[in-house]
């Protein structure tokens, strides 16, 4: 009888230990936003650098959570999360082109979000299995440096569609980021070629490659090169261009009909070292106030429907993006781009 008692005690201790660990591991959503002193969040962000930093600073101010902010282009961030899969260093994957978030979800690199506000997002702005949530939306614009354009092309009308950018008249005149690194450029390649067969895709990418000179490292750098007058023409996300426009650079932005677009999304990395803080940060990003603020500082559109009143015009221009396909065909598209590079030279 004594022996049974001993084993029973051991059983109870074991069960208690297990549930104690579980309790400490799982975040408590109600409490998570209030006090995160002693927590440390590591974020891989591909949002525009100053926007990502501002978001983290505000989160720290509201919760006391310390953070480390690592800014990386989309493709690099995804590659890093993949590489660290067995031993994650970061807790949150923030922003960047959406195909990367989808790819991360498909590869089980991220885990379900607990934020209650997730259900309020339109289905197109969140993953069905809760692995990412859109926090800001922006279309891909054609960006023109007005003075440079006038100097080079005179009174010629500005291009109104992405296809017009393939014209040989623009050889060496388009600022573009390296699609192997930057999600901005990859979004354009995936969108333009999503309904093409292999031969047409190769032809399209070769034409574009011929018009592109030195590749920039990120979508934002590509826009900076238009703002500086290095190039008369470029392709970049509208929010990046608008931010430089607000700083007085003579930029003109054209959002084509049926424009390519992306979401800056937030995701919690699978087995994040500080999952509690990561889940709290995701919930914070989806708060109505954060979204409103984000749209003001980032020049992007919020994803919560009740705050989108100012952006209905932009939404009308959005095209149908097959993000799943963009993620799945990434290698093929990038290989074709690499061949296009050889053909173009």
């Amino acid at each position: 009888m004594k022996r049974v008692g001993f084993w029973l005690c051991l059983f109870l201790v074991g069960v208690s230990l297990f549930f104690y660990w579980q309790k400490n591991k799982t975040p408590t959503p109600e409490k998570s936003l209030h006090d995160l002193h002693g927590h440390h969040l590591v974020v891989y962000s591909s949002m525009r650098d100053e926007v990502g930093r501002a978001l983290l600073m505000l989160f720290q101010e509201q919760t006391g959570c310390a953070y480390e902010y690592i800014h990386l282009p989309t493709q690099t961030a995804l590659a890093r999360v993949r590489r660290e899969q067995q031993k994650p260093i970061a807790d949150v994957l923030l922003g960047g082109a959406l195909h990367a978030q989808m790819q991360a979800a498909a590869e089980n690199l991220t885990e379900p979000l607990q934020a209650q506000a997730l259900a309020q997002l339109p289905p197109a702005f969140r993953s069905a299995d809760r692995r990412w949530a859109g926090i800001a939306m922006t279309p891909l614009a054609i960006i023109v440096h007005q003075k440079q354009w006038q100097k080079i092309f005179g009174a010629r009308p500005w291009p109104q569609t992405y296809t017009e950018l393939l014209s040989p008249d623009f050889q060496g005149k388009i600022s573009f980021a390296d699609p192997n690194v930057a999600g901005t450029s990859y979004t354009l390649l995936a969108y333009m070629t999503q309904d093409m067969n292999a031969a047409k895709r190769a032809q399209c990418l070769t034409s574009l490659r011929q018009n592109v000179d030195q590749l920039a490292y990120s979508g934002y750098e590509s826009v900076e090169r238009v703002a500086s007058g290095d190039y008369p023409l470029g392709i970049g996300f509208l929010d990046d261009a608008d931010s430089l426009k607000a700083s007085g650079f003579p930029l003109l932005t054209i959002v084509p009909e049926d424009a390519a677009w992306t979401l800056d999304a937030v995701a919690v990395i699978q087995h994040a070292p500080d999952e509690k803080a990561a889940q709290a940060f995701a919930a914070f990003c989806l708060e109505k106030n954060t979204q409103k603020l984000l749209s003001r500082i980032a020049f992007s559109s919020p994803t919560l429907p009740m705050t989108a009143e100012d952006d209905s015009q932009t939404a009308l221009h959005l095209g149908k993006m097959d993000f799943v396909r963009a993620g799945r065909e990434q290698q093929d598209i990038l290989d074709t781009w690499a061949h296009a590079k050889q053909d173009a030279h």
Partner: protein, 268 residues
């Protein structure tokens, strides 16, 4: 028969209990080491444990921004980690090397006193090897160097050598007179960067419309052939004597500062 079944049930219960105990134990194991203090007995002991490849100072010269130094641990660790990442790629063969002048040249000084020179441009040269851009790592390293050294104080010192300095409004650029440039230099020297306490104000500023912009163009070096963007700094000036500086040669975005008196200088 009944006793046998009873014994079997007890054994099963015990097995499940053991399983939970083991799971709990294993999962708690990893947590046990956090927050513990490790005592290192002496300086010699610490040096024995430390890697000789630990940098204690990195100094460099940038063609546009001048001389930079990193001595604080977070910056050194960040730079070292980015350099190590670059060095994991396959070095370039001589035939594929770009012969362009580098943007940045410097020296890494290690704990044991050894020095290692490097150069960063379209490729990264170190220890007789050259590494190219792969996955954005080279650019990320350059961004870190530039972010580390770009401050209002540095901009003030650079203004002394800069001939092209404009105030812009409605895309029109108007040259800034020498007297005002001198005043601005003083203001920039005394400017205080925003801190974590300014998070709310920072958000207001980022959402606000600047009153005017200052545009500074660094002179061409003649040796290094970079982009025009690498020669441009934009400064947005706001109503409440706050300013936002952005260097178009890196992707950091805008740095915010309190700069009392900046509006007054350009009041008219």
């Amino acid at each position: 028969m009944k006793t046998l079944r009873h014994k079997f049930a007890v054994m099963l219960l015990l097995a499940v209990g053991m399983l939970f105990a083991c799971a709990g134990g294993i999962l708690s194991w990893g947590r046990a080491f956090y927050g513990q203090t490790m005592v290192i007995e002496s300086k010699e002991d610490a040096l024995r444990h430390a890697s000789v490849s630990m940098p204690v100072r990195i100094e460099w010269q940038d063609v546009y921004l001048g001389k930079g130094v990193a001595e604080d641990m977070p910056t050194l660790a960040r730079l070292q980690s980015q350099i190590q990442t670059l060095r994991t790629s396959t070095p370039l063969q001589e035939a594929f090397l770009h012969q362009d002048a580098p943007r940045l040249q410097g020296t890494i000084i290690y704990l044991n006193g050894t020095r290692q020179d490097f150069a960063l441009g379209k490729v990264f040269h170190i220890d007789g090897q050259s590494y190219s851009e792969e996955g954005g790592n080279l650019h990320a390293l350059q961004n870190t160097f530039l972010e580390t050294m770009f401050t209002a104080e540095r901009l003030a010192s650079l203004l002394a050598d800069t001939k092209t300095f404009y105030i812009t409004s409605n895309h029109l650029e108007e040259s800034v007179p020498q007297a005002k440039q001198t005043q601005l230099r003083e203001i920039l020297r005394a400017a205080k960067p925003f801190t974590a306490e300014d998070a709310s104000l920072a958000l207001q500023i980022r959402a606000a419309r600047p009153r005017f912009h200052l545009r500074i163009y660094f002179p061409s070096t003649g040796i290094y052939h970079g982009t025009q963007a690498e020669r441009i700094v934009n400064v947005d000036v706001y109503d409440n004597d706050c300013l936002a500086m952005e260097y178009l040669g890196c992707t950091h975005g805008r740095w915010l500062y309190h700069a009392p008196g900046v509006q007054e200088v350009f009041a008219e």
